[in-house]
Structures are given as C-alpha cells and as structure tokens.
C-alpha cells in the first residue's frame, strides 16, 4: 500500500486538492478567519504524509504539477491590475508612498529584531527578504549569503500568517480604504496575501498584485544595502 502511494503520480495532487476542498468546507461551516483553507489543507497533507510515511519528494512527484501553474497564475495578476489602471494612476503618489514605507518598515524591523536576538550575519540576511514573493526572495537570500531553504520556509509562513491575520490587523489599525488593504496584503505577504486580497474585492486584489512586483523589486535593492548594516 505504502509502496503504491510513493510510486503514484496522482496521489500528491489528489490529496492536495481534496485537502483544500475540505478546508473550504470547514471555513464555510465555522466562518473563522483562523480556519484558512490553505492553512487547513497544508496541515491535512502534512498529517497524511506522516501517517502513511510518504516522503515529501514522493508526494511532490504528483504535487509539482500544481506548483507548475504558479508562474502562469502570477503572470495573470496583470489582468486585474490592468482593469484598475485608472484608479492606480489617480492614486499613484499614495501607492508609491505606501509600498515604499512598507518595504522600509520590513527591512528596518528585521534589522532591529535581528540585533535584539543577536543573530549572525548569515541568519540576518536569510530573514531580510521574508515579505516578498518566494522566487525573488530565494534569489536575494542566496545572493547575500543566506540559507535559502530557511528563507523559503519563512516566506511561506509569512504569507499564510498575513493571509490569516489580515482582516484582524485591518480592524485594529482601522485600515478601511480598499487600495490601502490591497497594498498592505501584497507588501506584507506577497502572493499568498494576494489570494486573500482577491477574496476581499477587485481593487484589493489588483493593488495587492501590484505590490508583489513593486515591493519585490524594491527589496532586491533595499536588502543588498541593509545587508551591510550587520
């Protein structure tokens, strides 16, 4: 049975999709922000792999076809962005200001906390690109001499965390403008945050998509400067 599961090409894809479907059902049933479908699906799959003793690389034989779609899907984020272009032009200053402030806040807070915990240079640069999209973040971490596997892990946790806590944070800090919500999600938790922004509305989704690209590129430059600080 276990040998069959490790060899199967479809096992990984099937349990991923089924777990997400279960996550959607659970959220519809209980309506709590913590019960995020992505979070539930991830935990479900982890538990199943551990129970059936299936290694990650075997699971990924099937699941990689799901990840394959990530690049085309990110490319498609240009579509909602295009549809909101007039809104973007009208608020260009606010958008540029918001993303710049967010990127700086990210770099400064990682620096301050790294100092506080007296992390090594290697650990510090590993965490610097934590808020940006995985593919850029991984590259930045490698370039600066960080441990890219940890960077990837932290980026994903940041994404899921942002996705789960967004509505709570917006309530506490009284962030009500759709543009502000979208930019906050995209700048703080990249594409996984954007998935949440898409649920909130078209404007939120478009602004979040924009923030992935702009914050990502700003961080490439910002992180290489901040790397000298420690």
């Amino acid at each position: 049975m276990i040998a069959f599961l490790t060899d199967s090409v479809f096992f990984g894809a099937v349990i991923s999709l089924a777990a997400y479907e279960a996550g959607l059902l659970i959220r519809r049933r209980f309506k709590l922000a913590v019960l995020n479908p992505l979070l539930i699906a991830t935990v479900c799959v982890m538990v199943m792999l551990t129970l059936f003793k299936v290694e990650y690389r075997h699971y990924n034989e099937g699941a990689k076809y799901i990840s394959y779609l990530l690049t085309p899907a990110t490319v498609c984020l240009a579509v909602p962005l295009y549809q909101q272009l007039t809104l973007l032009r009208k608020n260009l200053k606010a958008v540029a200001g918001g993303i710049t402030a967010g990127v700086l806040a990210s770099l400064v807070s990682v620096f301050a906390l790294a100092k506080l915990f007296s992390l090594t240079h290697e650990q510090y640069v590993t965490l610097l690109p934590k808020s940006i999209t995985t593919a850029i973040g991984m590259g930045v971490s490698e370039e600066l001499g960080g441990i890219s596997t940890i960077t990837v892990a932290v980026i994903i946790v940041t994404g899921i965390l942002g996705n789960v806590i967004a509505e709570f944070v917006f309530k506490i800090f009284r962030i009500e403008e759709p543009i502000a919500k979208g930019l906050a999600l995209g700048t703080a938790s990249h594409a996984i945050g954007t998935a949440k922004a898409m649920e909130l509305g078209e404007v939120e989704g478009a602004m979040s998509s924009l923030a992935i690209a702009v914050a990502g590129l700003m961080t490439v430059i910002g992180a290489s400067l901040f790397a000298y600080l420690m």
Binding site: G98, L161, E176, A195, A213
Partner: protein, 125 residues
Amino acid sequence: MKYLRQFCIILLISFLGELFHILIPLPIPASVYGLVLMLTALCTGILKLAQVRETADFLIEIMPVMFIPAAVGLLDSWTALQPIWFPVVVITILTTVIVMAVTGRVTQYMIHRSRQQKSKGADIQ
C-alpha cells in the same frame, strides 16, 4: 478552443518571462517579468483583454491551491529551522504585522490627504 488559446497565450508570456530571467542577470523571477510583459501587452493593445480573461480569472481563483506543495515542503526544512526557531517565529509574526499596518496606514493617510487637498481646491474655485 477559446480556453486552449487563452491558456496558450498565458504560457507563451510565462515562457518569454523565463527567457528574460535567463538573459538578465538579476534575482528577478520569470513570473515577475511575465506580469510586466502581460501588463505592457494589454496597455499597448497588442493583447486584448478578451483574449486571456476567462482563463486568467480561473488561474487567479485557484491560486491558493498552488501554494500547498511549497507549504507542505516546510516538513523538510524543519531540521534547518530547529536551532533558531524561536527568534525566527517572533521576527516573522512581528514584522508581518508591522509591514501590513505601516503600508496600510501610510497609503490611507496619503489618499485622505490628497482628497482633502482636492476638496480645498474645489472650495477656492
């Protein structure tokens, strides 16, 4: 056939993004080049919205699912994470909240300010 053609265009742009990624020595992924290329194509009219719309909407809708394999991959990075898990967890939680709050508040402040300036300008006129 419509969906196949739309998917083909999206994959073609992803492929061009890949090409840019290989040709330009910067840590910018194919997906970000692709996003910019798609936006440029739509803005210049090379590509009509109707030529990609339904498939693009579908891919965006199912996007969260695409993160599951990478998130499950955390199982494998646990050994690397173990020695520094505590500072990493604290830094991750705090910075995520800080970045979200700062970006949101600054954007909102600037939107409100420009609206006030506009209404003041209207008063003078």
